[in-house]
């Protein structure tokens, strides 16, 4: 026990010397939001000529909120809204936060380029393939639509820990995390790209950036939106609000306590000002200019809480989200 005390003293000495360290913004969370935040962090540090340091980790949306609600990070990247359980955790620790949408991601459904019979899919058809009841029953393409060939249906998707999986299942099957289990799952989207590009009978889904970089190897499927129009996933289609229901907003959560630190405030202001341009560069879809402005207002007014109240939602407009009165 004595050695523990000595170690604690040593730690105290080190901690004391670190007090006058440089201004630091600590960010952690979703790997989906990471590319956007990373781009903003890179340019922000250059703009500040290195006087502010920014670190970005990848613990996943859930892992990020755990650290955020323990007060370890200033900002949490999230590819889905905060859940009830996480809200309670934060409330217990007295952590308040502002929820800011920063961009859209277009979930892209892809098939092998050799697949000639699929050009567009309806949500109902996707549901037939992915719903829990399909497990062990819908094993061939003709089981979904009799006009399609008698070939095995090979499904590829992200693992159950990812926000992408949560959103897709919510949008397609009507319930977050409810899906058939007999598909090839991987947390690494490049593995999914490889899988679909090598198998003529494959179908998979992941973020738009991974499709865009591998256009030669994959074929994106048009999704029939609620108005009955088949839409090819693209940055323009999402911005026009036509790529529904698979376009989802991604968020950052800023701790209210950290907002008093000038470096965190500057960083978020910079994010909302330059984020749209940078999001486009890393193949995400920027929000409308008015939305960024509105988000900035909410941030300056410190409107703490979440517009979702701990429930997942599909197809909600960002402009409407920002107008809502956030709950804590």
């Amino acid at each position: 026990m004595k050695s523990l005390k000595i170690a604690a003293v040593v730690a105290g000495v080190f901690a004391a010397t670190a007090v006058h360290a440089q201004a630091l913004v600590k960010i952690d969370g979703s790997s989906t939001v990471f590319p956007v935040t990373e781009a903003v962090a890179e340019d922000f540090q250059k703009a500040k000529k290195g006087s502010v340091r920014v670190t970005v980790g990848i613990s996943g949306t859930g892992g990020g909120f755990k650290k955020f609600c323990r007060g370890e990070t200033d900002i949490s990247n999230a590819s889905r809204p905060i859940l009830k359980k996480e809200m309670e955790e934060c409330a217990k620790a007295g952590i308040k936060y502002v929820e800011l949408p920063v961009a859209f991601d277009a979930l892209t459904v892809v098939v092998n380029p050799k697949n000639t019979f699929i050009n567009q899919l309806t949500v109902a058809e996707l549901k037939k393939m992915w719903e829990p009841a399909a497990q062990g029953k819908v094993m061939k393409w003709k089981d979904v639509n009799p006009a399609w060939p008698d070939a095995p249906l090979k499904l590829f998707g992200p693992g159950a820990d990812s926000g992408t999986f949560d959103y897709f299942t919510e949008a397609v099957n009507g319930k977050s995390k409810s899906s058939r289990g007999d598909f090839t799952a991987s947390e690494d989207d490049n593995v999914l790209v490889q899988g679909v590009s090598r198998d003529n009978n494959a179908l998979g889904f992941f973020g738009f950036a991974y499709y865009d970089e591998n256009k030669g190897k994959l074929k994106a499927v048009q999704i029939v939106n609620p108005k009955g129009k088949a839409v090819t996933p693209s940055i323009d289609a999402v911005m026009a609000g036509e790529y529904e229901p698979l376009a989802r907003p991604i968020f950052i959560y800023v701790s209210a306590k950290s907002m008093d630190k000038p470096e965190v405030k500057d960083f978020v202001e910079y994010y909302l000002k330059e984020g749209g341009k940078l999001a486009k560069e890393v193949k995400y879809v920027p929000l409308g200019a008015a939305d960024y402005k509105h988000a900035q207002d909410n941030f300056r007014k410190k409107k703490t809480g979440t517009a979702f109240g701990g429930e997942a939602e599909v197809g909600v407009k960002v402009a409407d989200l920002l107008k809502r009165d956030p709950k804590e």
Partner: protein, 308 residues
């Protein structure tokens, strides 16, 4: 006199035995090749992809969203600093524990249990060390997600390797050296410091370097304690900046290491990042080989000086 028939029978036996000999040597070469060729293919593939990417800028640039501007500066500096902390903490602890167990510890059931446990520790998956370190170093001691936490975690990981290597190399010293020293009236400590440590240092060093070579590529425990993925600055050097940093400020700085940087790059959508990952992998393998090379050289130098 041997009959011709007997002679033929003997020759047949010899031929058969030699055939088995040939068969087994083939089998041996084949088994060896499985390992060597796999490594060679992987390494050559990585070198072909990655080496053209290596440039002065690659070593002096921070990570970036643009693959062609991205570099490994924060990663290699992080790796070296973490290794420094690991070596400084694991070597004294490991060697002292090894010497105690060999020279001082009474041979009873308590030491037996400790010995068994040390051997078992070497086989524990590294992620377990990561979880232990997360609770102990990161939270309980409050070191945070720092170079210090990572260095101590990896030190725990390679401690059993160093202890075992120390004991093995002490046992390789002839018993007569011990006895001669004691016969001249030396105390245990005099025996250890004048004879045991100098003679076993070559073996200990090999153990240390093998342990370090294992630690340098570890990813799981480092991710568990929370190494960062994007970090575009270096820990503050001692006495740099304003107000000047303390001598040990860097030890509590956030960091990233080479394997994590590689891992991050391989999961990017752009193919150009895969090339970066290959280049970083090449550098990492080179670092490991350099460490092993150094171990062989030092061992040779130390052995040269030992004359029983």
């Amino acid at each position: 006199m041997l009959k011709a028939a007997d002679l033929d029978a003997i020759r047949a036996i010899i031929t058969r035995a030699k055939r088995w000999d040939l068969f087994f040597s083939m089998l041996g070469i084949l088994s060896l090749m499985v390992g060597v060729l796999t490594f060679t293919v992987l390494f050559v593939d990585m070198a072909i992809q990655g080496v053209p990417r290596l440039s002065y800028e690659f070593f002096t640039s921070f990570p970036s969203r643009r693959a062609e501007n991205a570099g490994i500066l924060s990663a290699w500096v992080g790796t070296i600093l973490v290794m420094l902390v690991t070596a400084l903490s694991a070597v004294p602890l490991g060697v002292a524990a090894g010497v105690y167990l060999e020279e001082y510890a009474p041979k009873n059931w308590v030491t037996d249990i400790i010995e068994i446990n040390i051997s078992n520790l070497a086989g524990i998956p590294s992620i377990v060390y990561g979880l232990l370190a997360l609770g102990l170093f990161v939270y309980y001691f409050g070191f945070g997600q720092s170079i210090l936490s990572a260095g101590l975690t990896l030190a725990l990981l390679i401690l059993p390797v160093i202890i075992v290597a120390t004991r093995e190399s002490i046992r390789a010293i002839p018993q007569s050296i011990h006895e001669g020293s004691y016969a001249c009236g030396a105390t245990t400590w005099q025996t250890v410091s004048d004879h045991i440590l100098p003679y076993s240092s070559a073996g200990i060093l090999t153990g240390v370097i093998i342990g370090m070579a294992r630690a340098i590529g570890e990813t799981a425990p480092i991710i568990t304690i929370g190494a960062l993925t994007f970090i575009a600055f270096l820990p503050t050097a001692p006495f740099a900046g304003d107000p000047p940093a303390g001598l040990f400020d860097w030890i509590l700085a956030p960091f990233t290491v080479m394997p994590i940087q590689m891992f991050n790059w391989t999961s990017r959508p752009e193919a150009a990042f895969t090339v970066n990952a290959a280049a970083a992998g090449f550098v990492l393998v080179f670092m490991t080989l350099a460490m092993n090379g150094l171990a062989i050289y030092l061992r040779y130098q130390l052995r040269k000086n030992i004359k029983w």
